[in-house]
């Protein structure tokens, strides 16, 4: 009953208004880092987004067709797309993340070989596609087929793991806003992925960040592209429903 009510509330309030107490990682950053994200000229993530635009327009694969060849101008065709990922892929019978969807399209429709996860090319394409949803609210699809994976994602989020025996929820729900060492614990909403992370001095996906979190509590991290990662992404997206997309975000 409680979950039904929450879902109803989420459906009725698609846009996070002023009453929304949730805060993006952006809100926890210092003014200098916020300025870096706000200004496209200072945001290193824009270097990847530019690469992504070039890849979008470049003919590729056995069929020698560009993404633009089918999808045209990304600003129109890709607007709102990242906001509703992960999404269900009927052909595979599985939910796919945005990166996996891009890869599936490239293999099926362009006839290309797979890009490595966290490769510069794939991150650039993800950044470019997700940037087309910048400013839009995260809108997880109301698709009952996703529910079994989403529910497992919620269980992962609340399960204690690792030598430190922490769950994601213990830090990011129960202690968000408190300090761990010198840093403030954010609420862990995936509002800006792929991100340029100052700690990495590099662009990275949500899954790279999740692997970092899992190492942080001395747990064996889920492999990139694993179904467990998709499950977590699904839960995090629902938890962040209505929050604005900031891709490409900058984070410390």
């Amino acid at each position: 009953m409680k979950r039904a009510l929450l879902l109803l509330a989420a459906a009725l309030a698609p846009c996070a208004g002023a009453d929304d107490a949730r805060r993006s990682g952006f809100d926890f950053m210092s003014p200098g880092t916020q300025a870096m994200q706000r200004d496209d000229m200072q945001n290193p993530g824009m270097l990847w987004a530019q690469d992504g635009e070039a890849l979008w327009n470049a003919k590729a694969g056995a069929r020698a067709i560009a993404c633009a060849g089918c999808h045209g101008d990304a600003a129109t065709s890709m607007r709102g797309v990242a906001a509703r990922y992960p999404a269900f892929d009927a052909e595979r019978g599985l939910p796919l993340t945005l990166g996996q969807r891009i890869e599936t399209c490239r293999e099926r429709h362009q006839g290309t070989t797979a890009l490595a996860p966290e490769s510069r090319a794939l991150l650039s394409l993800e950044a470019f596609v997700a940037m087309q949803s910048r400013g839009l609210p995260i809108a997880p699809p109301d698709d009952p087929r996703l529910e079994p994976w989403r529910e497992r994602g919620r269980q992962w989020f609340e399960k204690r793991i690792g030598q430190l025996n922490f769950s994601c929820a213990q830090c990011h729900a129960d202690n968000a806003g408190q300090r761990l060492g010198g840093s403030v614990i954010p609420e862990a909403h995936p509002t800006g992925y792929p991100i340029y992370r100052l700690e990495w001095q590099d662009m990275g996906s949500l899954q790279r960040r999740l692997r970092g979190c899992m190492s942080g509590v001395r747990a064996e991290p889920f492999p990139l592209g694993s179904i467990e990662m998709t499950e977590l992404e699904l839960h995090l997206a629902r938890r962040a429903a209505g929050m604005r997309i900031e891709t490409p975000a900058v984070r410390p």
Partner: protein, 146 residues
């Protein structure tokens, strides 16, 4: 192993060991002297802007500027930026000409740990001016393997 050795061993494990204070100040004096050719810079005229506390030392925005008419007769010819506790002292040397219009530059730097930044300006009349700024660098709470 005494406590000081333990701390340095621990910090060294993190990848970059900050320099002990006495060795660093001698190196800083040497680096500044290399830039000024032995002249001792006077305090003033240089404005060095950096946040007093930064959340990550990998990418720290800084701005440095010197008010000057930037004419052929009276301009800033270079501004050098040094640090006190990175593996090496030099950060950058910026070269200006009267065509620069303003002796003002912004960039982003790396700081291994909390430390002091020092900027030294060389004027066209051969004088040197300096300013410094202390920065606290906080470390990530959750140590991950990238």
């Amino acid at each position: 192993m005494d406590r000081r050795q333990l701390i340095f061993a621990g910090v060294a494990l993190c990848g970059v060991a900050p320099r002990p204070a006495d060795a660093a100040s001698a190196e800083l004096e040497g680096a500044v002297r290399d830039f000024t050719g032995g002249a001792v810079p006077r305090d003033g005229r240089v404005r060095l802007d950096v946040a007093p506390l930064v959340e990550n030392g990998n990418t720290v925005p800084i701005s440095v500027a010197v008010e000057s008419p930037m004419t052929e007769a009276d301009h800033v010819s270079a501004i050098a930026v040094f640090n006190t506790r990175n593996p090496q002292r030099d950060v950058a040397i910026f070269h200006f000409t009267p065509r620069s219009g303003r002796a003002a530059v912004s960039t982003r730097i790396r700081l291994a740990t909390s430390q002091t930044l020092v900027a030294v300006a060389r004027m066209s009349d051969g004088t040197y001016w300096t300013a410094q700024s202390a920065v606290i660098v906080t470390l990530a709470g959750c140590i991950e393997e990238s």
